[in-house]
């Protein structure tokens, strides 16, 4: 393990040399690349990367251009986890056999897999579960924008109740998505993963701290990164950070971590907790909830968020 990169403040952080390049094809205002930049800049160790099919993948490796300044692989929609686990296994084998390439000798590359929520919560769920059960030394990052954004905004099992998507549209007799969001963070913690955390790119300091903690943890680390999606959440591209702030300050996306599946710590407590209504109101995907007949859903939302926050606090207090 090499020394952890020192990041005292944002000025110091800004001296980082990015390993992720511009002129990728992500939408203007996309949070994916903000997340990727923060993660890659959190370490000075080499990184070996994979991505599942999805926005990040189709926008950063469209022939003849790559936006990656580190080795990167994409296989399919479901298997970025196993792809990087395979690379990690090869690293271990070659290290044991003294056959690592000279350029890799003595280095501690970090193996990182990226996937959207569709690739993580849905189609790639089994592969991730397998990788975590086997204990590969890797970090899996879910870029959670709560929708299949790359293919035009279909619902995934990360889509929250009431969101209008192209396969759960709000209509004359429907308020949109009917199911509650799957709790992936808890599911990954239940794997006994040494470190699981929910992060948001607007809270960069909290995020960097967790990413660095993840990098210094041996074994499979799961990071659920909220990725506000200008296109599918339907807000203006320059509002990405503002909407992200609404998400973290309304506690719709609480920021916390779980160590070894048993020790939960809340890492961010908003000074001024804002109503969930404000978060919902900032996004076109929830516009229909503000009709009188669906107002009750907003109340239910608030209760659900309050209950979950209560639950997190109780666990933290109990040290479990």
């Amino acid at each position: 393990m090499s020394e952890m990169k020192k990041i005292k403040n944002l000025k110091e952080f800004s001296t980082s040399a990015d390993r992720f390049e511009g002129a990728n094809l992500l939408c203007p205002g996309c949070a994916h690349s903000i997340i990727v930049r923060e993660i890659l800049n959190a370490t000075n160790d080499p990184v070996v990367l994979s991505a599942s099919t999805g926005c990040l993948e189709v926008c950063t490796a469209v022939y003849p251009y790559t936006s990656w300044d580190a080795s990167w692989i994409h296989i399919g929609f479901e298997n970025s986890s196993t792809a990087i686990a395979g690379a990690e296994a090869m690293y271990k084998a070659l290290q044991r056999k003294n056959r690592l390439p000279d350029s890799c000798e003595g280095k501690s590359p970090k193996f990182i897999a990226f996937g959207g929520d569709g690739a993580t919560y849905d189609i790639g769920f089994q592969w991730i579960s397998g990788c975590f059960e086997r204990g590969h030394d890797m970090m899996y990052v879910c870029l959670d924008n709560e929708v299949y954004a790359n293919t035009g905004g279909q619902r995934s099992s990360a889509t929250p109740i009431g969101a209008s998507t192209t396969t759960s549209p709000a209509g004359r007799v429907s308020y949109g998505e009917k199911m509650n969001k799957k709790d992936m963070v808890q599911i990954m913690a239940a794997h006994g993963s040494p470190y699981v955390a929910q992060v948001a790119p607007n809270k960069w300091k909290d995020m960097i701290k967790k990413i660095q903690k993840g990098f210094s943890t041996k074994g499979p680390v799961y990071i659920n990164a909220m990725s506000a999606c200008t296109t599918e959440w339907k807000f203006a591209p320059d509002d990405t950070i503002a909407v992200s702030d609404l998400a973290t300050d309304s506690l719709v996306f609480p920021l916390y971590e779980i160590e070894n599946g048993t020790k939960l710590t809340i890492t961010y407590r908003p000074k001024n907790k804002i109503p969930v209504r404000d978060y919902l109101g900032a996004q076109g995907r929830f516009k229909h909830l503000f009709k009188p007949e669906y107002e009750y859903l907003i109340d239910e939302w608030q209760k659900r968020v309050d209950d979950y926050w209560e639950y997190l606090q109780r666990r933290e207090e109990a040290g479990v």
């Binding site: 080499p46 070996v48 994979s50 993948e57 189709v58 490796a61 469209v62 022939y63 003849p64 790559t66 990656w68 300044d69 580190a70 080795s71 990167w72 692989i73 994409h74 296989i75 399919g76 479901e78 298997n79 196993t82 792809a83 990087i84 686990a85 395979g86 690379a87 296994a89 090869m90 690293y91 271990k92 084998a93 070659l94 044991r96 056999k97 056959r99 690592l100 390439p101 000279d102 350029s103 890799c104 280095k107 590359p109 089994q126 592969w127 579960s129 397998g130 059960e133 086997r134």
Partner: protein
């Protein structure tokens, strides 16, 4: 360092043990695998080698065959020797990633113990899975017995990993008939085998941190066609020469001769069976019997199923009068794959024999000496008449009314 295994000059191995010993001797860096009948013992044997100190590579027991091939692709792109094993439904499940492996030009070795595809579910040997792989861009070698399963697995690494080839290779053997039948196998010593396979030479490795590389790009209508054409061209032009070169080197080392298309008593044959797998040896035995009955019978067997040995098949069957193509897979609405390939090849010859198609042995149904005799007799009649005396496609060994077409 892994322990070396002391082997006898002649071992009694089944096909699964033969394949797993070859994987062990090749000192594979990463095996990511998932068990499935009838290839399960390959994975079990390998686990046992690991548990007893004979393996120093990584062995990753994944949660599905799709993950097995996904892990293999990641490991191979990282830059080292990679192999796995599967059969049937497992093969079908990993088929998405088979195309990814070959498209990224990653030389993974896959030992396939051939088995039928459901439904209805069946654990026995036929060639449905092998045929499923035929457009996947892999090199496909076919073993007809345990010795060949061992030999071809060793050779597969040397063929696929060559920098001029860089393609994944499947080594097929018949489920149960080969995989679970113990035969005499003459192995190389561990040192000799590894020396023959050679140390893995990385190429465009992800772990070469000085030269970051992107694998698995997206190409649309402006680039996709050229990349697929490049892969096809390499399969069509580079593989045959390399396979011959490796077969020659292996013959020098062991005395065991392999050919891209195997021929048995074809020098003066007038009628021939074309077959794959264990049926080849049955057909050879019967061809010899038919000679005693005055029928000039021979057998032709593609050792290399992909790329398809078009020229070698044309040559092997240049002078025959009647050919039977035996397909051990339900074509489900067409003539058999072997029939179509052989017929397309021979259509280019001046001499166009009568060619008929037999569907046989599905789900492990026995293919007997009597079946082969009957086929040779029908071929003899076809040869004498100069036209088919039977329907073009017939089912062999099937209960119920005779099933045939055209």
């Amino acid at each position: 360092m892994a322990e070396k295994m002391e082997l006898n000059e002649v071992e009694v191995w089944d096909g699964n043990m033969a394949a797993s010993q070859a994987l062990r001797q090749a000192q594979v860096d990463v095996v990511a695998a998932y068990p499935i009948t009838p290839s399960t013992p390959i994975v079990q044997n390998y686990s046992s080698f690991l548990a007893n100190g004979y393996i120093d590579g990584e062995f990753v027991m994944v949660e599905s065959e799709h993950a097995a091939m996904s892990g293999c692709v990641g490991a191979a792109a990282a830059g080292g020797r990679v192999a796995t094993a599967t059969s049937s439904q497992g093969f079908a499940l990993m088929s998405e990633v088979l195309y990814q492996a070959s498209g990224m030009r990653l030389p993974i070795v896959l030992t396939v113990v051939n088995r039928a595809l459901a439904a209805p579910l069946n654990v026995n040997g036929d060639h449905s899975d092998m045929y499923l792989g035929r457009d996947s861009g892999w090199i496909q070698l076919d073993a007809f017995n345990c010795q060949q399963a061992y030999d071809l697995t060793l050779m597969a690494f040397r063929i696929g990993e060559d920098h001029s080839i860089r393609l994944p290779v499947m080594v097929h053997q018949d489920g149960f008939i080969t995989s679970h039948t113990a035969e005499n196998v003459k192995p190389l010593s561990d040192d000799e085998a590894y020396e023959f396979v050679g140390e893995y030479k990385p190429m465009n490795a992800m772990l070469d941190l000085a030269k970051p590389v992107t694998y698995g790009v997206q190409t649309e209508e402006d680039w996709h066609f050229e990349h697929k054409a490049r892969q096809h061209a390499d399969l069509m032009t580079k593989v045959f020469g390399k396979v011959e070169e490796v077969f020659d080197a292996f013959e020098k080392k062991t005395g065991r001769k392999y050919n891209i298309v195997e021929e048995y008593m074809m020098e003066d044959a007038e009628v021939a069976i074309v077959a794959l797998g264990t049926t080849v040896e049955t057909s050879e035995l019967v061809a010899k019997m038919m000679r005693e009955e005055g029928i000039k019978a021979g057998v032709v067997a593609p050792r290399l199923f992909r790329p398809w040995p078009f020229e070698q098949i044309r040559k092997a069957l240049a002078n025959v009068k009647a050919v039977a193509c035996l397909d051990r897979s339900s074509p489900n609405g067409a003539l058999g794959a072997l029939y179509n390939e052989v017929t397309a090849s021979l259509y280019q010859n001046d001499n166009r024999p009568v060619i008929t198609n037999y569907i046989y042995g599905l789900g492990g149904r026995d293919f007997t000496i009597d079946h082969a005799k009957e086929i040779f007799k029908e071929l003899d009649a076809n040869a004498k008449e100069g036209r088919p005396t039977t329907p073009l496609q017939q089912f062999v060994g099937l209960r119920g009314p005779k099933l045939s077409f055209y």
